[in-house]
């Protein structure tokens, strides 16, 4: 167990993200890629994800403003978004994306709108949590955070 209280706190925070289903195994893959040469790899990837996915979210919002819905387009956008989200291990966000796509496929506009709202909530929640996590990680010291788990 981590000696440093900050590190310990970091570990606890990290574990809860997994336990509560915010993150999945893919996040661990990212962590394992982090090494001395790229000590902040995970944070960099997550930052890139949020930057890029913000664009997709915006496109989705715009598409959802046009009635009637272009389900193909929505599905396509969500496919992209899902791919990105899954690659960082954003488990809940990914689940919401899948749900959204189901609604698209069945042409359920109402379902799409609801699913999108839910998705955005999860997306924002995760963002906050990860930001807090990385901030703590930086404070806790680079050595530990760079250490590969497993």
């Amino acid at each position: 167990m981590e000696r440093n209280p900050m590190r310990r706190q970091l570990a606890i925070m990290r574990q809860s993200l997994f336990d509560q289903g915010y993150l999945d195994e893919q996040f661990i893959q990212l962590e394992e890629l982090q090494d001395d040469a790229n000590p902040n790899f995970v944070e960099e990837v997550v930052t890139l994800y949020y930057r890029d996915s913000a664009r997709i979210i915006l496109n989705l919002e715009q598409a959802l403003e046009r009635k009637p819905f272009d389900f193909n387009k929505l599905d396509g956008l969500m496919h992209q978004f899902k791919g990105s989200s899954s690659s960082i291990g954003a488990k809940k966000v990914k689940a919401e994306s899948t749900l959204f796509r189901e609604y698209c496929k069945s042409g359920n506009a109402e379902g799409c709108t609801r699913a999108f709202q839910q998705l955005k909530r999860e997306y924002d929640t995760l963002k906050r949590k990860l930001e807090a996590y990385f901030q703590l990680a930086r404070q806790a010291g680079p050595a530990e955070t760079a250490c590969r788990r497993k």
């Binding site: 890139l48 791919g83 990105s84 899954s86």
Partner: protein
């Protein structure tokens, strides 16, 4: 790589050096494997890059398919494997896959968050060597090197299997050549090549009738060489003996050339002549039934070209030629028109199909079988466009397209030209939209490309005879079309509009058939690919060829035709290291490799260094696999290929069957020359 030390820093040369088909793989392998990863999603791209680096691979990332293609084209031997996303904004991943397969013959792994069976199947049918579901785990990437090795081994195997007399001599040489580890090898290769050439030449001549004649697979490269030779001699003066001499491909016999020339003439005739009929011819070409089917396709184009060059062949003679060449009934009465409604190989009619989009439907609707035999319909539009582009006048079209004349588009024009003025005009007009440009006013140029295109196009409905160019079996017709189209710029040296990527992909994408066809094409002769490749080559790096040529001592001379020269070299070199000349890659490689002779390390375009040679070799291997694929497809083809209207489903199933069973399609292509890959059943 990060601090991984030596491994990570393995140079390209050494990494390729590591690749010795059949040899013990160097310790560091697969470290240093050169991977090109293409994905529009920056997050995924970043993660993949890091994962691949962790696997000790050399990674190049790219977020646009077009960029990736140009990177690949510029540096044909610069990569060992490509990983690409399926959904990308600028180009469909499958299209990219087709292009790569056609042009460079590299193993391609598709990825997507989409794990639907349909999509995965599409990957299979388009020739992807693997399909990864996102999110990709590093474990999945650790073993991608197997695809590279597998491909190379297959190529080698093909090579070795080509049953030619020379085989005996060649094999030892091949193994030398297969060693593409470094310039040292290149040196060996060169000398082996020379040795081989001498031996082969002598043997060839003697053995043609007595020894078992290996089937010659008229790969794109080989065909280009042929076309170059024909052009050089002048279509009317092009006699097999002289062509053979010019081509200087070890192991190639006068008979091989003669039969190929016959087909080529038919092809040319077709090009200039009856558009619809042509398609018919094409169809017949494609019909696998004939043993000579495979080879015919390319030949058809050639023939036509020749015909075109000489001025229109009378329908009758053309028909005769075709019939002879094809051995099929389609050639009846002059230009077999019938196929007009078949999918058009070259959809002259559909200019808009040009890039694939239209193609598919076009193909299906039109059913025209491209005039050119075996010219894939898809190619057509493009080709036509290119044809038009250059030629502007139907009468002349001569395949301007590439010096060597064969560019997909050219074929079209040739077809157009050939034959009857009327039809031609029409054809041109129709296709003009799309392709035409290529046809140069002087027909001198072989229309090879057209033929190829035709070959490709036949994909649509026509059973594949297209084998020639070895396009990727991707069935989108549209892709084929695109292919030639792009090429409007005709590469002076290149006969094949390989460069035009769109076309390439289109080739492959033509519908189910196409797949078969494609594969055939790839294998057999890869005409189609040649076009592009050559074009590409020309465009991109003429110098490379020169270099290569120089090395190869081939008289690549010609300028942009150097491609052909390269081909020659490659071919003569036989199996040498991979001629993967970067550009020629796609087709050349396959073609070259396939035909025993092909393995010449000659690879032309490579930047002319030893390393390239190595790479080439690698590529060759890769190519071989492609060939094999096509061969396989061919098998499936015969039965299906034939009908004028092949249900795509039939083709598809045939294709699938083939793919599963890996039927030795190779037989189909029996050109009476070397069989490049006798894929055992």
């Amino acid at each position: 790589m990060n601090s991984s030390g030596g491994k990570g820093s393995m140079s390209t040369a050494s990494s390729s050096a590591a690749w010795k088909a059949g040899d013990v793989v160097p310790d560091q392998f697969p470290a240093g494997l050169r991977v090109l990863v293409v994905d529009d999603d920056p997050t995924c791209l970043m993660i993949l890059e890091k994962m691949l680096r962790t696997c000790l691979y050399e990674v190049t990332k790219c977020n646009r398919a077009e960029t990736a293609l140009s990177m690949l084209r510029e540096n044909k031997n610069g990569f060992d494997i490509v990983i690409s996303d399926v959904h990308m904004p600028d180009m469909d991943g499958f299209k990219l896959l087709e292009h790569i397969g056609l042009e460079m013959d590299l193993p391609v792994i598709m990825m997507s968050a989409d794990d639907g069976k349909h999509v995965v199947m599409k990957g299979v049918t388009h020739g992807a060597c693997d399909y990864l579901i996102k999110p990709v785990r590093i474990e999945a990437l650790k073993n991608i090197w197997q695809h590279v090795v597998r491909k190379r081994k297959n190529e080698w195997k093909d090579f070795e299997q080509s049953g030619s007399v020379e085989e005996g001599d060649r094999q030892p040489k091949q193994s030398e050549e297969a060693d593409y580890s470094s310039s040292a090898n290149e040196g060996n290769w060169k000398s082996s090549k020379k040795r081989k050439d001498d031996d082969d030449e002598a043997e060839e001549r003697d053995d043609t009738s007595t020894l078992k004649k290996p089937r010659v697979v008229w790969s794109v490269e080989l065909h280009q060489q042929f076309v170059a030779a024909v052009n050089q001699l002048g279509i009317d003066k092009a006699v097999p003996k002289k062509i053979l001499e010019l081509m200087n491909v070890p192991g190639l016999t006068r008979e091989n050339v003669a039969s190929h020339l016959q087909k080529y003439r038919l092809y040319l005739r077709r090009l200039s002549g009856v558009s619809q009929h042509q398609s018919n011819l094409n169809n017949s070409f494609i019909s696998p039934q004939e043993a000579t089917f495979g080879p015919l396709s390319p030949l058809n184009g050639l023939d036509l070209q020749t015909l075109a060059a000489t001025g229109q062949l009378p329908a009758q003679s053309l028909a005769t030629l075709q019939a002879a060449g094809l051995g099929r009934s389609t050639a009846k009465s002059g230009i077999a028109m019938p196929l007009v409604d078949q999918r058009n190989i070259f959809s002259f009619e559909n200019p808009k199909l040009r890039f694939g989009e239209g193609q598919q439907q076009h193909m299906n609707n039109n059913k025209q079988i491209n005039l050119l035999h075996g010219i894939p319909t898809t190619m057509e539009p493009k080709q036509l466009a290119s044809l038009h582009h250059s030629a502007q006048s139907i009468g002349n079209m001569n395949v301007q397209v590439t010096s060597h004349g064969v560019q997909g588009s050219q074929n079209n024009s040739l077809l157009i030209q050939m034959a009857q003025p009327q039809p031609r005009g029409q054809i041109l007009n129709d296709s003009a939209g799309s392709h035409a440009p290529r046809l140069p006013s002087t027909m001198g140029q072989p229309i090879l490309s057209n033929g190829i295109a035709a070959n490709v196009s036949t994909r649509n409905g026509i059973p594949e005879n297209i084998r020639g160019p070895g396009y990727n079996p991707v069935s989108q017709t549209s892709s084929m079309l695109n292919f030639p189209m792009n090429h409007t710029s005709e590469l002076p040296g290149n006969s094949f509009p390989l460069g035009s990527t769109p076309g390439i992909s289109s080739l492959t994408s033509k519908g189910a058939f196409q797949e078969d066809l494609n594969s055939d094409i790839k294998g057999s002769g890869g005409f189609m690919p040649s076009y592009d490749i050559f074009n590409d080559l020309n465009q991109h790096k003429p110098q490379n060829w020169e270099l290569q040529n120089v090395g190869m001592t081939f008289d690549a001379s010609q300028h942009s035709n150097s491609l052909q020269g390269n081909l020659d070299l490659a071919q003569s070199v036989l199996v040498q290291q991979g001629f993967s000349s970067g550009q020629m890659n796609g087709q050349n490689r396959s073609a070259a490799v396939v035909s025993k002779a092909m393995f010449s390390a000659g690879d032309c375009t490579e930047q002319g260094n030893a390393q390239n040679v190595n790479h080439h070799l690698n590529n060759l291997l890769v190519d071989n696999t492609i060939r094999i694929k096509s061969e396989r497809v061919a098998d499936a083809g015969p039965a299906n290929l034939f009908p004028d209207h092949f249900g795509q489903d039939d083709l598809m199933s045939a294709l699938l069957k083939q793919q599963e069973g890996i039927a030795p399609a190779e037989n189909e292509f029996d050109f009476d020359g070397y069989s490049m890959d006798n894929i055992p059943v």
